[in-house]
């Protein structure tokens, strides 16, 4: 009884910490997007629909990040982290294709080769995916060692 009473404020504090962390991270990401949005809008004049695509990416990333922080220290966090990494790679593949961005305007065409950036982002996402998988393995092994259900 005494132990349960002690755990309750800890749990509440844990949740408060998780919520605060998730809010802070989401706010920082949104602020970064807010700072960059004029330049994104500038690019949107060259390629229509660019802003909308970025908005979807930022929204999904923030949602997955918040959920991941809220489900910290559970197996769901590993799934959400892996999901976020896979989403980033999938987004890149669908948005950029081969990494060469060609924009045709009135009487000129602009070609931007983003292959190097594409490769770096994909590698970082793969690193995130590897981390999520290691987290999952670690989580399962710790649970198995302590005899708890995952």
């Amino acid at each position: 009884m005494v132990e349960e009473k002690k755990k309750s404020p800890n749990k509440a504090r844990d949740w408060a910490f998780k919520v605060a962390k998730a809010t802070l991270k989401a706010t920082l990401i949104y602020l970064l997007y807010f700072v960059l949005s004029p330049y994104i809008a500038m690019l949107s004049t060259l390629a229509s629909g660019f802003t909308e695509t970025i908005e979807v990416f930022v929204a999904v990333t923030i949602v997955l990040m918040i959920l991941s922080d809220l489900t910290a220290k559970t197996i769901y966090q590993c799934f959400l982290n892996a999901g976020r990494a896979i989403f980033t790679i999938a987004y890149l593949v669908f948005a950029l294709g081969d990494g060469v961005l060609s924009i045709a305007l009135d009487n000129f065409s602009l070609t931007v080769n983003l292959t190097s950036l594409y490769a770096i982002v994909a590698l970082l996402s793969l690193l995130g995916l590897a981390k999520a998988m290691l987290q999952a393995i670690n989580f399962m092994s710790e649970r198995a060692e302590s005899g708890l259900k995952p």
């Binding site: 330049y39 690019l43 009487n107 080769n113 982002v121 981390k131 290691l134 987290q135 393995i137």
Partner: protein, 263 residues
């Protein structure tokens, strides 16, 4: 295993921060890049070439240097036949520097005149395919391609020889005066000679005349060709007819004969 996972997480986060910082600074740098194109200058060289010099001004106030700047221009006529190709390469435009690049395009007028004499007498529109490429922020190769219509001004636009006017010079010869006019629509000054042969209706050479021309660009020329022809009964008739053979000779090109009938 917690420590390696944590380290992996920290390393990934640091790399993401560096990457986002790089993308943000590169995007911000773009607004501090200024490109400008100056007034093209035309220069006629002694070896029958016309050089078009196009000054390009690049002010790189961004955070990154621009590498491998390459400008290619291809001039072609309305049939798509390539007339001239030129390229300018600059290895690096350092950050914070204002650079002027001179892009030189050489047009061999003699070969142009050989292929299509309408360039000498008609204003036409040439197509110029421009391709500019550079390596932005070291790792983002960017290329811009466009087609520009380039007006070609004919150096002998509206070339006309008027009706010959006959006057008795002496008892044996006639003085023939032929008005000559044209407009120099070209972007270069024209200096040279026009040699003209006067033939009658039976293709008999009656006389020859040569006149020097010196016409500035975008100006017109009005003058007379003077012939001295022997007085014969056929020539003295009022309705003289035949043709002129005109030969053009300038330091940039030779062309002729151009046959112009009269009478």
């Amino acid at each position: 295993m917690n420590v390696p996972i944590r380290m992996l997480g920290i390393a990934t986060t640091i790399f993401w921060i560096i990457l986002v910082g790089f993308i943000a600074s590169a995007a911000y740098s773009m607004k501090d890049l200024n490109f400008g194109v100056g007034e093209p200058q035309f220069t006629a060289t002694s070896n029958q070439d016309l050089t078009l010099t196009l000054p390009l001004y690049i002010d790189n106030r961004g955070y990154y240097s621009l590498k491998s700047f390459n400008l290619i221009t291809v001039f072609s006529d309305d049939e798509g036949i390539e007339i001239s190709r030129a390229s300018t390469f600059m290895a690096a435009i350092p950050q914070g520097e204002n650079v002027t690049i001179l892009h030189n395009v050489t047009l061999c007028i003699d070969s142009v005149a050989e292929r299509a004499n309408q360039y000498l007498f008609k204003d036409v529109n040439l197509t110029c395919a421009v391709t500019a490429g550079l390596n932005f922020a070291e790792i983002v190769p960017t290329q811009l391609a466009t087609n520009v219509t380039f007006p070609w001004g004919a150096p002998f636009y509206n070339f006309k020889l008027g009706q010959p006017k006959l006057e008795a010079a002496d008892l044996t010869h006639l003085a023939v005066t032929v008005p000559l006019s044209f407009e120099n629509h070209a972007a270069f000054d024209l200096a040279g000679n026009i040699r003209t042969k006067l033939f009658d209706g039976h293709d008999t050479l009656l006389g020859e005349s040569q006149t020097s021309i010196n016409t500035s660009k975008y100006s017109s020329y009005n003058g007379n060709l003077e012939f001295s022809i022997p007085l014969t009964p056929a020539v003295s008739s009022t309705n003289l007819s035949g043709h002129f053979d005109v030969y053009f000779s300038t330091p940039m090109f030779e062309y002729g004969p151009m046959v112009i009938p009269y009478g």
